[in-house]
């Protein structure tokens, strides 16, 4: 097992404000703080528009934060964005592949462009082709592949430069059950290899199955942070769906004081649970 003492990803009071013509200033991310560790799957759970993707885009240096700081493998996302990108792989529904490249060319292209040592590129491509069972269709153009095959090539692309941190933003969106299960299996394997994985989803069952710790995000704020058992203990709910709803209702002020139960006494809406990372 990898050393869990050192945080590979540190997020501190991260903020992102957009200006929208109709809504004015929108605080998409509003003071998020969390750490992630090697060999850990950290889940960001939230409804659509909660701020998960914006957070992950800031971590992957696609967006610049409006406030706060974050680092990946010790590299600050604002001061050293290229080193950050060298240390992470980013997979999301909006990171597509080039349709005219073959599966193998795709992996090779991303291995090279991510600065993997030139003399080891072919060896790395072979490793990834073998690992994800791409050999059979490695010479097929991406636009001719099935969605399951594309998914494998996409994951291989994300891991091309063997980064220690991997971000999966809603990775199972649009996938059928079999492919979604395959994705979950890959993430588990990566965790076993000691990679730090940040997993964002609004699908409760996946988060329940995969994540060592869960951060519940709502309207850009981190409502809670802890293991599933800790969140259960705080809310008194068993299912993650209920846990999530409990926190969201509290944040929205929908439930009364009497209904809040044990969690209400410990954590007001918007507060975080103490970081109890393993």
């Amino acid at each position: 097992m990898t050393d869990m003492s050192q945080a590979t990803v540190r997020v501190s009071d991260l903020r992102k404000t957009f200006y929208d013509e109709s809504r004015g200033e929108v605080h998409a991310v509003d003071g998020l703080s969390f750490d992630c560790h090697p060999g850990e799957v950290f889940g960001l759970l939230g409804a659509n528009g909660a701020g998960k993707t914006t957070t992950l885009r800031m971590l992957s240096t696609v967006l610049k934060p409006s406030g706060g700081t974050a680092s990946v493998m010790g590299h600050d996302i604002e001061r050293d964005p290229e080193a950050v990108r060298r240390s992470l792989g980013f997979y999301s529904a909006s990171t597509a592949l080039y349709p005219r490249l073959t599966a193998r060319e795709t992996i090779e292209f991303f291995t090279r462009i991510n600065g993997y040592p030139a003399e080891r590129v072919q060896q790395r491509v072979e490793e990834l082709v073998d690992r994800f069972g791409i050999a059979e269709y490695q010479k097929g153009r991406v636009d001719k592949l099935s969605s399951g095959m594309k998914q494998k090539v996409s994951i291989a692309r994300t891991m091309a430069h063997d980064p220690p941190v991997l971000i999966f933003d809603e990775p199972t969106v649009g996938l059928d059950v079999m492919n979604a299960l395959a994705m979950v299996k890959v993430i588990r394997e990566l965790k076993e290899e000691g990679k730090t994985i940040i997993f964002s989803s609004h699908i409760m069952s996946e988060v329940e199955k995969l994540c060592d710790r869960i951060g519940i995000v709502h309207r850009g704020k981190l409502l809670a942070l802890g293991t599933l058992d800790e969140l259960r203990a705080v809310t008194g709910e068993h299912y993650l769906e209920d846990v999530f709803l409990d926190y969201v209702k509290r944040a929205e002020g929908i439930v009364g004081e009497a209904e809040i139960g044990p969690a209400g006494a410990l954590h007001a809406a918007g507060d975080e649970l103490p970081d109890r990372s393993p």
Partner: protein, 394 residues
């Protein structure tokens, strides 16, 4: 590969062959038409031979039997008749029986225009013969009546004529093809990335943003240059193999060759143009969110290019201080002059400097634009103008 290399190589020979074959075919069809003429009344009796000549033409069919000539107007309008010919007396004083041949025809119809042309030639020939006959009867020989004639003598060599044609055509096509060569790659590397959702994929790779943008830019510039230069080579081959034999068949001696020094000037011109078109087109297309939008944004630039090209290509003015300051027109003139063997080095230098100044301006603008996160995330409704209004001029 197909757009940038194969099409330029094979397009011109095939295109020229198709155009000339088509023209010959259409000409053949037109020549084969029989012109349907209606003749409204005979000419003066002394000139009845003219009517006989018209009647005797193998491709003219004359109708003279209408009870009501107004029927012919309707037939002409309906395309059942090609022209109506009438002979109108002219009171020309000294000359008896003078008359005008009036041809009523439909200019919008090819057959009708051709009927008029056939009548005109017959009348011209008749007039020439009549004048010759009258002169003979008055004992005036041909040398006496042929006075004040214009005799033109061409001092241009066959090479000069070839260079004139090449200078006008190659400079025009080089500029157009460099622009066209940059067009699709500039849209593909920007708006195309957004449409395919590969934009964000690229933004998360560890290569620096500036190196990604530079790589894209160099790709666009290289394709623009290659497309432009390959087109020029293909055109030269086509001109030599297809156009020259056709022109020589008309007894026009033409030699297609260009001075050796024109090659580096053309290369420099194509490079400067590709750098400019690549930068300008990428800036505009980068705002679009789909390939189609990108094309729509870049197309006006492409068409605007024609104005300075025509200015530079269609005048006889050589490159000068004034013309060297007009973007695109200056490069067109520089290339045209070089092909025609005129090398005004100080203005060539100024032309390249002006174009490179534009390139630098575009690159500085691109650098400014890339600083805006909203741009990177595809905001501004895909509009450069909205971005300029809200960010640059705000």
């Amino acid at each position: 590969m197909v757009n940038g290399i194969l099409i330029p190589i094979f397009m011109y020979p095939i295109m020229l062959w198709a155009v000339f074959t088509g023209m010959t075919f259409v000409q053949g069809i037109n020549d084969g038409f029989v012109s349907r003429l209606a003749v409204d009344g005979p000419p003066p009796a002394a000139h009845s031979m003219l009517l006989d000549t018209i009647r005797g033409h193998e491709r003219i069919q004359v109708r003279e039997d209408a009870a009501d000539p107004s029927v012919w107007d309707a037939q002409l309008a309906a395309g059942e008749l090609d022209a109506i010919v009438s002979f109108r007396p002219i009171d020309a004083g000294a000359l008896d029986d003078n008359f005008a041949v009036a041809v009523l025809y439909d200019r919008a119809e090819e057959r009708s225009r051709q009927a008029r042309e056939r009548v005109r030639r017959l009348v011209d020939d008749y007039r020439t013969d009549w004048i010759a006959g009258r002169a003979e009867s008055l004992d005036v020989d041909e040398a006496e009546r042929t006075v004040f004639v214009l005799v033109g003598e061409n001092v241009s060599s066959s090479e000069d004529i070839g260079q004139l044609l090449l200078g006008q055509m190659l400079s025009f096509f080089l500029v157009i093809m460099v622009a066209l060569g940059c067009f699709i790659p500039s849209v593909d590397t920007t708006a195309g990335e957004r449409e395919r959702s590969t934009w964000e994929t690229l933004m998360t790779v560890s290569a620096s943003r500036s190196s990604i943008v530079t790589a894209k830019y160099l790709y666009v510039v290289t394709l623009g240059m290659v497309a432009g230069l390959l087109n020029v080579v293909a055109m030269m081959i086509s001109m030599g193999a297809i156009v020259r034999p056709l022109l020589q068949a008309n007894d026009e001696a033409i030699a297609f060759s260009i001075p050796l020094m024109a090659a580096p000037v053309m290369l420099a011109g194509a490079t400067a143009l590709a750098l400019f078109f690549g930068a300008a087109m990428m800036i505009l297309a980068a705002f679009a969110r789909s390939f189609k939008d990108g094309q729509a944004m870049v197309t006006p630039v492409y068409w605007l290019v024609f104005i300075p090209i025509l200015l530079g290509d269609q005048t006889d003015v050589n490159l000068s201080l004034g013309t060297a300051l007009i973007p695109i027109a200056n490069i067109t003139m520089m290339i045209r002059d070089a092909i025609q063997g005129v090398f005004l080095w100080q203005w060539i230098g100024l032309t390249l400097a002006v174009t490179m100044a534009l390139v630098v301006a575009c690159l500085l603008l691109a650098r400014q634009i890339l600083k805006f996160e909203d741009f990177l995330m595809g905001s501004f409704d895909g509009s450069f103008w909205r971005f300029a209004k809200e960010k640059l001029f705000a």
